[in-house]
Chain length 208, copies 2
């Protein structure tokens, strides 16, 4: 279906805007817009305004750069958390994933992306300098690098390592290995190799 | 990932709104919202306002009920079109599909849905009375029923047929048959059966 002919400019406009979103083509955009047209005026006003309000009023935590409604996010403000460990992640979705494990009680540092020359993202575009400054304050014992194991993630890890290797801080990275519940025969060789090289005492694996 | 803990109320709000859209779950909604957060303030304002404006200002054509920016849509207003044939469709996407074939030069009538007791949609919720009124004006020679071949579509067809069978108007329906380019062995039996029963002279099939 050639969908360049819309019966209304307003409709076309809304479809154009929706189809700019990642993973939404023009056909899906039209479906979403027609769905909105069937909703109450108040509901659509609320939808539109919630996006405008979000973009205009959202803040980033001054310390960890996570998204928040305050100057300092509730995690950085929580004095029950271990303030000597920082987990470095790419974006706020990673913070949410790690928080949901309930296995981490330290603080975060959200880089806002990873070094990716292909996308024109260099170290200066990320919150790396502010991480170095946090470390230089001297209260941090350990930095956990929790970036993805892609080439870009490895590059970013190495850049941060070079920046911090002379500071008094321990650099660790997430364990890579066979997923819990996965069968060995379906695990790729690199992961299986790494999980052999980094094998742990049996007692540790039991969560002790 | 349990995604009920958002670091910001504004974020949660926007994610809630996006996930009300059909086919968008909470994870996709979060992805879309984070994408919007990376865009310029102006771009997001424009997006939000385009939706609000659409819902508040869009009109439905007084004659065919298609979506339009005017009182009467450009198709109904086009005096070069054949004003004695009306194609009855479910929604505006069907109008766009048929327009894109460039094979139809008549007018449309958008029902705004089909009769579906399961969804609580009865004949009174659809633009059927206004269709009967258009026919009663006496200028219409043919009504093409172009609804989907589902039970709901058949029910709606039959309802319209009962309303119009005593009027001076020819009722036709779209030809059902093997799709152009499809192989016979992959065509379902009902479609193949109908395309046999409704076979056409070879010359017709050549588009003459």
């Amino acid at each position: 279906m050639n969908i360049d002919k819309y019966p209304s400019k307003l409709l076309e406009n809304a479809v154009n805007e929706f189809s700019k979103l990642p993973g939404i083509g023009r056909k899906s955009a039209l479906r979403l817009v027609l769905h909105l047209l069937k909703q109450d005026v108040e509901a659509v006003n609320y939808f539109g305004n919630s996006l405008i309000q979000l973009r205009n009023e959202i803040k980033h935590c001054r310390i960890c750069h996570n998204i928040t409604d305050f100057e300092i996010c509730p995690i950085c403000n929580n004095h029950l958390r271990n303030r000597s460990v920082i987990c470095v992640v790419e974006n706020i979705r990673d913070v949410m994933s790690i928080e949901n494990t309930q296995q981490f009680n330290g603080l975060y540092h959200v880089l806002g992306g990873i070094i990716s020359p292909m996308d024109g993202i260099g170290p200066a575009d990320l919150e790396i300098e502010s991480l170095v400054k946090r470390v230089e304050k001297g209260e941090i014992i350990e930095i956990i690098l929790a970036l993805s194991t892609t080439m870009e993630g490895d590059t970013t890890n190495f850049y941060i390592y070079r920046k911090l290797k002379d500071k008094e801080v321990r650099l660790t990275t997430l364990a890579r290995g066979v997923s819990v519940g996965d069968e060995l025969e379906y695990t790729d060789e690199i992961t299986l190799g790494r999980s052999l090289a980094n094998r742990v005492p049996y007692e540790t694996s039991m969560g002790k």
